[in-house]
């Protein structure tokens, strides 16, 4: 056989199929069609419009030629440092919900269990937002997903403390981890969710995460995504979110490490009068690649969306922001705002930004703006003229740049964690 690009995908599939996890919740038919889709399309490379700056196929070819799936078992001692004080900590290890490592707490209206334990009625929405015949990474996840996490808040319940899901991978050599979560916020419920991503193994990880989130009528879901997977990690994180009438969804993604981090954050505003707020901050160095893709799909009238993404790229790192906004024919009176601001800290760093607005309704307010530049030299001089050294002055300015995003983290221990890592990375 000749080395073709589908061969890379095929090699991966063959290796993964050797010891694919067995899960009950994913129908065999879906697994088969997912594999077929992958075989046909392959893992995307830079010829794929959405992966122009994020050649996953090349990453697999270079870093994951052989995959050994040598997963490590983890103990409480491994997890302890990853926990957050003011939260209920739930743990997913190498794609599988780990009840033993998770904190058990009885909270009215909260259900936490593995996906294998889904009831027939709970299963109805599963995969409805993450369709494996639309996206190769979703297909890869569907085909090889572990027994992930199901989280449900019953109608009308306000969860008094944040839920913290720790997604941690650990292998002793190259692993591919397919993690899935399914999050269901009932009508008029309100919860704050933190999703943290770590890799604490000694091997490289290709982490392919897919989460489906449903936010019911008049409900509120406040999410924080904390990514600190380290230099051995290559991760793709797909969030497929659907929000309903009068609901409010927000997410703030903090990317502090990871050799490659690709975030696909897709939100469907499926009914009227709801709002979605997507924010992100990254700081990258070395040869890191951070790629934030968002899709906001306004389907109905009187909705609002807001996006604010900021990045600081150092050394030879590459940052990308690609923000698509659809305003469908029925989505009159839509307000959609998008802003991406970036600072290049070296001549070799690269930032790509691409706003894409597709508007089919006529009575809408949409705006987008991107800016990429070097650090403000006037401000730098002003600080130095007051006796502040070059390095501290830079730090003050970069901190100021990031502050409005760091301020969005309302959980003190998480904010502290982010700030500490952020300052270290400066």
């Amino acid at each position: 056989m000749i080395e073709t690009k589908s061969n890379i995908t095929q090699t991966l599939l063959d290796q993964l199929q050797e010891n694919a996890p067995k899960v009950d919740f994913m129908p065999d038919t879906e697994i088969i069609s997912a594999i077929r889709y992958l075989e046909e399309k392959g893992i995307p490379n830079n010829k794929h419009e959405d992966y122009k700056y994020c050649n996953l196929e090349a990453v697999l070819r270079k870093e994951f030629k052989s995959v050994e799936q040598s997963f490590n078992e983890l103990t409480n001692a491994d997890i302890a440092p990853l926990k957050l004080d003011e939260a209920i900590n739930l743990v997913v290890v190498n794609g599988n919900y780990n009840e033993a490592l998770s904190e058990k707490m009885i909270v009215k209206g909260l259900t936490v269990k593995s996906l294998n334990e889904l009831s027939a009625s709970e299963k109805i929405l599963l995969s409805s937002q993450a369709k494996s015949d639309t996206d190769a990474l979703i297909a890869l996840n569907a085909a090889f997903t572990g027994n992930g996490l199901f989280l449900k808040i019953e109608t009308g319940n306000i969860i008094p403390m944040p839920l913290h899901v720790i997604y941690v991978n650990s292998g002793s050599s190259n692993i591919v981890s397919n993690t899935r979560s399914f999050i269901h916020i009932g009508a008029s419920a309100d919860v704050t969710l933190v999703e943290s991503f770590f890799n604490i193994g000694t091997g490289k990880v290709f982490s392919n995460f897919v989460s489906e989130k449903f936010v019911g009528e008049n409900a509120k879901l406040t999410c924080h995504t904390f990514q600190n997977e380290g230099a051995l990690s290559y991760s793709v994180n797909t969030n497929q979110v659907k929000i309903n009438k009068y609901s409010n969804y927000s997410n703030t993604t903090m990317t502090l490490s990871g050799e490659l981090v690709r975030n696909n954050h897709n939100v469907v505003l499926a009914d009227s009068n709801c709002e979605a707020h997507l924010n992100g901050l990254f700081i990258s160095n070395g040869t890191q690649q951070i790629d934030n893709h968002t899709l906001i799909d306004h389907q109905m009238p009187h909705c609002e969306s807001n996006e604010l993404y900021k990045g600081i790229a150092k050394d030879k790192s590459i940052g990308t922001f690609n923000g698509k906004i659809f305003v469908r024919k029925d989505a009159q009176k839509t307000n959609a705002y998008q802003s991406s601001k970036n600072i290049l800290m070296s001549d070799d760093a690269i930032i790509n930004t691409k706003p894409q607005l597709e508007i089919y309704a006529d009575d809408v307010k949409c705006s987008h703006g991107t800016s990429t530049g070097k650090i403000d030299t006037e401000a730098l001089f002003y600080l130095k003229a007051r006796g502040i050294g070059e390095e501290s002055a830079r730090k003050l300015l970069l901190q100021a740049f990031a502050q409005e995003l760091i301020d969005k983290i309302e959980i003190p221990s998480l904010q502290e964690r982010v700030l500490h890592l952020f300052e270290k990375a400066l």
Partner: protein, 253 residues
């Protein structure tokens, strides 16, 4: 305090300072006047260490040190202070945090411990009173959304906090209302001692009514073309720069 000899500076291939000589001793107040674009702000920027300008000739000694060899931050740490003609807005950096960093970096340079938080806050309180700066402004982002006058007041507040040896005030009076002018000038006078010195750049005598200069210099086309006592400022105010300009053009040609 500071001794400037034959200072030439240019930006690109445009020479802006064309041989400045100036000697300022401790305890003195010098005023620099001169038409727009004559190079007053350029002189203060070059002294403060702005990198956009190339010093092509001359030397500057500041308390025995070669000023031109020092980084901008070290110049400040050595006691040079520039009150900017156009203070910069720095969104997201609070005035207090900014000043605490400045105070402590200057102390570190001199081998001193960080200032205890309590002492620092007491100092902020004392010095903001000196220029009657609204306490709320201290906690806001540096100059962000400040009115023109508030920015100028904030410059003098910073000067009071850092207690420099040589302060250069670049048109600190512009944009101040009559009361603010008196307050700021009184503040500057209170900070004056026999050990420090002040260079005031201004277009107007009214500031010099409060901050009375020992010497007045007229800068024109990058050179000090005339120096005198405080009466020179009054003379300029009465007559304007025409005579000086004409005289200078004659010499040039």
């Amino acid at each position: 305090m500071i001794s400037i000899k034959n200072l030439h500076a240019s930006i690109g291939d445009k020479e802006i300072l064309r041989g400045i000589n100036l000697e300022v001793k401790a305890g003195e107040v010098h005023a620099i006047m001169g038409p727009n674009g004559s190079g007053k702000s350029t002189l203060s920027s070059v002294l403060a260490g702005r990198e956009d300008y190339n010093v092509t000739e001359g030397e500057v000694t500041f308390n025995g040190k070669n000023l031109l060899e020092l980084s901008p931050e070290d110049r400040a740490r050595e006691g040079l202070f520039l009150a900017f003609q156009y203070p910069v807005e720095i969104p997201g950096v609070s005035n207090v945090n900014f000043l605490r960093t400045a105070v402590n970096e200057i102390r570190k340079y001199h081998g001193q411990e960080e200032m205890p938080a309590k002492d620092f806050l007491a100092l902020v309180k004392e010095k903001s009173k000196l220029v009657e700066l609204d306490a709320k402004l201290a906690s806001r982002s540096v100059n962000e959304g400040f009115s023109g006058g508030e920015k100028k007041r904030n410059e003098i507040f910073q000067m009071a906090m850092l207690n420099p040896k040589l302060a250069i005030l670049d048109e600190t009076d512009s944009g101040l209302d009559i009361d603010a002018l008196r307050i700021v000038a009184t503040g500057v006078n209170k900070l004056k001692s026999k050990d420090n010195a002040t260079i005031v750049i201004t277009h107007y005598q009214r500031l010099l009514d409060y901050i009375v200069p020992d010497f007045v210099h007229i800068l024109y086309k990058g050179r000090i073309v005339k120096s005198g006592g405080k009466e020179l400022a009054l003379e300029m105010e009465a007559k304007g720069y025409d005579e000086i300009k004409a005289q200078f053009e004659r010499i040039e040609s």
